[in-house]
Amino acid sequence: MSERVLMKGNEAIAEAAIQAGCRFFFGYPITPQNELPEYMSRRMPQVEGTFLQAESEVAAINMVYGAAGAGARVMTSSSSPGISLKQEGISYLAGAELPAVIVNIVRGGPGLGSIQPSQGAYFQAVKGGGHGDYRLLVLAPANLQEAVDLVTEAFDLADLYRNPVLILGDGLLGQMMEPVEFRKLPSRELPPKTWATTGMRHHPHKNIINSLVLDAPGLEKHILHLQEKYARMNLHEQRAKSLHCADAEVVIVAYGSTARIAKTAVMSLRQSGLKVGLFRPVTLWPFPVNTLSELVPKVKAFLTVEMNAGQMVEDVKLAVNGARPVHFYGRMGGMVPTPEEISSECVRVLGGVR
């Protein structure tokens, strides 16, 4: 499939996973990501793969845990309340160092919240979510082509680092349609999965998938090993995109679908002659500190825009480290900011720096 096709975000993500060699999907229905498991239930039998609707999100992520341990390319998807349920298994995957791709099509919270788009799961995604000192690679696409490309790459990244990768979308990206193209990305050299529990006929020694280390020095050593891995991820995987940042006085920092709305605002402000730019983190963890801090000396102020009460803004403040004011504008509960709102907030910030 190389022609451009018009697809829903949820379906495009599912097809990208299939194209990336994912042959196992375990999930549970929840709005607004239902088209993803539905698509998998149609597609997996066509490629001799497995789709299984689990009895709960908890069971689904633990099926992922088993399948990943046995060496398969495996995916699960859900939306905020379901992702909360999956945190147990995500922590185990991280502890046992297993590759898997998890998709969160975020909706409003807390609690049952709403089914409308939100970015209220930022903290959960990048600061842990489950228990223990672990990190996920967190990728935040802003359009469906990027979602397709990032999902394709996510499986490689998961295998490369032996780490779960989270695709953080939202109801907007899951539900909208855009043209996408499924293209072959340059493949990486990936380590063989000699650790997989496929039976001892396949390897000379017994393989154990485990996250339990009862002796304290042993667990500390394991956690230090994980931190070393996260440091490598932090060194190599920070990604961001910039638009009109070179001469910008105010830079908007936004990710995912908020960033594409902010882009509309930036384009219209530029037409009015205002020097505004957009900085869009593509990886939320590792947070693109390096490229963001390069902007600090050139910029007078930052404006973080999110569909939450202010979560990523904390990481922006850490990166800016007090050198410039960092403002925040957020909508919550499924309310999506309009380009006009972002523009007027930007003008307000600009007024302050002049």
Partner: protein, 180 residues
């Protein structure tokens, strides 16, 4: 150039499909496009709407507060979206189901008897295509050959025989679209 269109109606009137066909045709035409549905807990009967954007540049926000055009297939949709149309924009409304015409004078208001024309064609389900025809006539968004390509894509293999009636509906919509 960026055209934003909101299409709205009852669930079952085919507004989602109408939007998808426009988006697909835009893509075939070489434009940047997006389609964004409203989504809620109701599966049937409620109001449904979608936003289609056809642009030269990559689409920013897939939802807009003030679209260039609105296609309203029923009264609640007109009530909800009449005020949203950008000044100078276009409002297509389904005369068959809306007895009280819109009041805005700063936009192009176009009446089309979508259900009546669809009935005359023998298939009330193509009322959405009549309205789409009216939109295409007034806005010149995409050429007809792209709409034909999109329809062929959108109709499943066992429904390709519906192509002719859909095209006829679009043509009748074009003819009926009279700017008052």
């Amino acid at each position: 150039m960026t055209f934003e269109v909101v299409m709205a109606g009852f669930g079952g009137q085919g507004v989602m499909l109408m939007g998808q066909i426009l988006a697909y045709a835009g893509m075939v035409h070489g434009k940047q496009v997006s389609w964004m549905p409203s989504y809620g807990p109701e599966m049937r009967g409620g109001t449904a709407n979608c936003t289609v954007i056809v642009a030269d540049e990559a689409v920013g926000s897939p939802v807009v507060a003030h679209p260039y055009a609105v296609v309203a297939l029923n009264r609640p949709s007109l009530d909800k979206f009449e005020s949203a149309v950008r000044p100078g924009g276009v409002l297509i409304y389904n005369e068959s189901l809306i007895s009280t015409p819109p009041t805005r004078s700063d936009i192009k208001v176009v009446a089309v008897a979508a259900n009546q024309i669809a009935d005359e064609l023998g298939n009330v389900k193509v009322a959405n295509m009549v309205a789409l025809g009216a939109l295409l006539e007034v806005t010149d968004l995409v050429p007809m050959e792209c709409i034909i390509a999109a329809l062929k894509k959108a109709l499943p293999a066992h429904r390709q025989d519906m192509l002719a009636v859909n095209l006829a509906a679009i043509e009748r919509g074009k003819q009926a679209a009279v700017i008052p």
